[in-house]
Amino acid sequence: MQHTRRKLLAGASALLAATALAAPGAVLAQGQPIKVGIGIAQTGPLGGGGKAALLGLQMWVDDVNAKGGLLGRKVQLIAYDDQSNPAVTPGIYTKLLDVDKVDLLVAPYGTNPTAPIMPLVKQRDLLLMGNFSFDANAKIQHDKWFNNAPWGAGAVAWGGTFLEAGKALGGKTIAFLAADAEFAQNLATGARAISKAMGLQTVYDQNYPPNTVDFSSMIRAVRNAKPDIVFVASYPGESAALVRAVNEIGVGSSVKLIGGGMVGLQFTPIMEPLGSMLNGFVNFHSWVPEKTMDFPGVADFLKRYQARAVQEKVDPLGFYLPPYNYAIGQMLEQAVTATKSLDHKMLADYIRKNEMKTIVGNIRYDAVGEWATPRLPMIQFQGVTDKNVDQFRGPGRQVIIAPAKLQTGNVQPFDKLRK
């Protein structure tokens, strides 16, 4: 009897103790913010884009908190600088998960820093919102990956539209010029395959080392090969150097179309000083102020972004990445609100099956977590003048030549726009 009573007392004490410990914990969990973690370039070659992107994501956090948060809890953004260095991203995401205990993950900006964390998120079976990666999930095939990038899976939306524009201008031969790095190589490999399928003859094909200082020699070699189309896959500093080299050396009168995958020509600090040197280049973009891209909410977002951008010393126009990072937040918000959960499987199921409503348009995902219907504007710089940043705020300077759904103008031969 004594024994039983002692047991009962001990059990009751343990229960009380557990309740006492658990209760404040439960209250605390209710009051704790929902943590969203990201490692994103704030320094290094991708830092310019990364800073602007982070401001876009932070603006979503501010907006959602102003509305009362998610599931009655505030949202907190935890961000680390990956220094544009893919080698550090696995460490950053391990810290986000194991030390910061984040609830939701957003991938770094770009393919190169994202690729190393794909095995980690697959192993732990986590939801990961991709951030302008290109085919980062093609090999891993993680079922909780959703990339917010308008090019979709494969290089068709990218190289395909560019090469079709080249063919429309009568192009029969092609030159490839690509940086020797993950993203540029993926892009060039896709474009090579499409070019071959289209029956274009390759007359020049070179990869160059990243951070090349002067492209004069390469542009001369391209000119010597007399291609009709020049497909370029480059990073910001090199893109600017290539545009200058083309202006200085001349790429030859045979070239009807040049560009395609030049990262950096979307960033205001690079576009503004290049000015009229940009005319004729055809390049991908994600958003430009053309009437076909006036999605609900995007104008208001950009107005508020541009007001903050000056203070934060980031891209003053912010067309390229910030709206898409805000949209990543909107997708998480929609999924969490609809499922009333932070369970990654439930969230992934919801995102896979439902249309996401964002300021960059409505999005549906395919089986590999890329946009089911790519919507990548291929733009051509037309009528750009020197020393005038305001010209890029309105339509007409970055004319959308493809895809047909977004088209606002016709592609012009490169030579014609240089005169």
Binding site: T43, K51, T212, S216, S217, P236, R244, E248, I270, V314
Partner: protein, 289 residues
């Protein structure tokens, strides 16, 4: 590769090589002659580039901006060396290792300071000689590279004459050879080294202007130039000004030819391969003693 393309690649390489020499001359002085492990040299170049960018916003020509900033950088160099001397060199042991740590620290401070002040975006400047070219027969040469060529020749000539013909210049060379002997001659080696380091820093103002004239610059660009500038200085043979130009030319021409031929991606490997071969044959560098 046809002959015309090869000829054009060599010309481009000469211009590129002069640019590499121009951005390495300050290091040749500081590291080559003074034995100061100046890892922060490329960061000082970037600082010079941003100073040029700032003056460019006020409408000042980039080259003129570089020249105008030289006295400011000279004073900055005096201050940096004085601090380095008082806190590291004067205390003797492990100077080299601790000096490297010191200059790494300086480099990071410069980089972070620039990020705080300007953000991380890449910056470009505008000038009539940027984005334009001069035609020599059938060949078009970028004017910005001609400017780099001219400035490299100018800095090298001035520094070579200064080191050979003036009392202070000869004292700088002497301090590199035998500090004790110089002291016995009544000269103050510390003062001489401080002065020489200030000259090296002043060249960073003009070379930094070249950096932003030739291409876009961001606060982290210095890291990429650590390898290039040290490669030029070591290949040249420590402390040789004319050797620095020759080493720059070798690397520039090699890079340019490889870029113009098949296998452009091998350009850095070829440049550093040349360094390894030269050091294997002549451990003191091309012009080292």
């Amino acid at each position: 590769m046809d002959l015309e393309l090869l000829y054009e690649a060599i010309i481009s390489g000469i211009l590129l090589g002069c640019f590499y020499a121009a951005v390495s001359l300050g290091l040749s002085l500081a590291f080559g002659l003074l034995d100061v492990p100046h890892i922060a040299h490329p960061s000082f170049l970037v600082l010079g580039a941003f100073a040029t960018y700032m003056l460019g916003l006020q409408g000042v020509d980039p080259l003129l901006a570089g020249l105008l900033m030289m006295p400011v950088f000279f004073v900055f160099g005096l201050a940096v060396y004085q601090f380095y001397y008082s806190t590291f060199e004067k205390r003797g042991t492990d100077t080299g290792l601790r000096g490297i740590a010191f200059f790494f620290g300086v480099a990071f401070i410069v980089e972070v300071g620039l990020i705080v002040a300007f953000g991380v975006d890449q910056r470009l400047v505008e000038a009539p000689y940027i984005g334009t070219s001069t035609r020599f027969g059938e060949m078009r040469i970028p004017n910005r590279m001609l400017v780099a060529f001219g400035v490299a020749v100018l800095i090298t000539t001035v520094l070579t004459i200064y080191l050979a013909k003036t009392f202070t210049g000869r004292a700088i060379k002497a301090v590199a050879q035998d500090e004790g002997a110089l002291r016995l001659m009544g000269a103050d080696p510390v003062r001489i080294k401080r002065f020489a380091f200030a000259i090296a820093t002043a060249t960073c103002a003009l070379a930094g202007a070249l950096l932003i004239i030739v291409g876009p610059v961001d606060p982290g660009l210095g890291r990429l130039y650590i390898g290039r500038t040290f490669c030029v200085v070591v290949l040249a043979g420590l402390g040789s000004m004319s050797g620095t130009v020759v080493a720059g030319l070798i690397l520039g021409i090699a890079e340019s030819i490889v870029l113009a031929s098949v296998g452009a991606a091998w350009a850095p490997a070829v440049a550093f391969g040349i360094l390894l071969v030269v050091l294997g044959v002549r451990p003191a560098g091309l012009f080292g003693r």
